[in-house]
């Protein structure tokens, strides 16, 4: 159990750093979505299913969609 949780946390950290360094903003948004998704799995493991549902539906789905629409209307690549 502790190994799975540590692996998930390492994956979460990697995707958070990736969201910071990606120049393509769509990829950065997908990496941020990954952070939310893993956070919701971790919430579930920590016996907080209510928070996990909120995180998965808002953090991983709706926020990603809103960011992608905003990027489509502005610029995709960061200088």
């Amino acid at each position: 159990m502790i190994i799975v949780v540590s692996l998930l946390i390492i994956l979460m950290l990697i995707s958070a750093i990736a969201a910071l360094i990606f120049k393509d903003l769509i990829s950065a948004v997908i990496a941020a979505c990954m952070v939310s998704l893993i956070a919701s799995i971790l919430f579930y493991f920590l016996h907080a299913p209510d928070v996990a549902m909120a995180e998965a539906s808002i953090g991983a789905a709706l926020v990603t969609v809103i960011f992608i629409i905003a990027i489509r209307r502005t610029k995709r690549h960061e200088e």
Partner: protein
């Protein structure tokens, strides 16, 4: 020079955080209120899900504030985007057949799941906010798959206002006849672990579910209208 300065500042902030945190014993509850909710929550509110009993019964007024914050955010976004609105219809590209069919197949199922989540908020994990977000994500699927379909703005605004109104009216009725505080439970609590239990909690969660769902769907609609 600036980099060295920021590193020094970071070290000072880290040191301050470490100094203030290292003596706190983590994992030991320092207040009695959490224990009280865990022990007495089920009897006092009649809701099997203790999170729901805290969110809607003990801390119902805070939930009203939360709903209001979401409402103000949606209104603000609508006001900002209304100034940019383009006139006239633009040509929309049709989605592929697979996306179209999948959207038409999945949309009612996702709506059903969202409704289940907020109707059973007092029994299983989840509640109005989560169910509303799931319903809004069903509308995202419609905007992606069946392009050109829009939600009816008048009915969505009406649903949203009715949800907020039901919340406040039930809270005020509780203040008037139930007890001495906002949102006191004036309906019979019923049997634990059945659908018709916990008094006003399921009614309020249904209202919040409709309100949050139509609000977030309205936000998505505002954003999609221009892209």
């Amino acid at each position: 020079m600036r980099k060295i300065f920021s590193v020094i500042l970071l070290i000072i902030i880290c040191w301050g955080i470490i100094l203030s945190l290292y003596k706190i014993p983590f994992g030991i509850p320092k207040t009695k209120v959490g224990e009280y909710y865990l022990n007495k929550g089920k009897e006092e509110t009649g809701a099997a899900n203790i999170v729901t009993s805290v969110v809607l019964n003990y801390r119902g007024f805070d939930t009203l504030g939360e709903v209001t914050v979401l409402f103000i955010a949606a209104i603000g976004l609508g006001a900002v985007l209304a100034t940019l609105k383009k006139k006239g219809k633009r040509k929309v590209e049709q989605a592929s057949l697979i996306l179209y069919t999948g959207c038409r197949f999945l949309f009612p199922l996702i709506l059903l799941f969202g409704a289940y989540v907020f109707i059973h908020g007092h029994l299983t994990p989840g509640g109005g906010f989560q169910g509303g977000a799931i319903i809004a994500s069903a509308f995202v699927l419609v905007y992606l798959g069946c392009r050109g379909k829009r939600i009816n703005e008048v009915s969505s605004k009406t649903t949203e206002s009715l949800g907020g109104l039901i919340f406040i009216v039930i809270g005020l009725i509780g203040l008037a006849i139930g007890g001495h505080y906002f949102l006191s439970n004036f309906l019979p609590k019923g049997e634990l672990n059945t659908l018709f239990s916990a008094g006003i909690i399921p009614i309020i969660y249904i209202a919040i579910g409709f309100k949050v769902g139509s609000e977030l769907a309205g936000v998505i609609d505002n954003l999609f209208e221009e892209s």
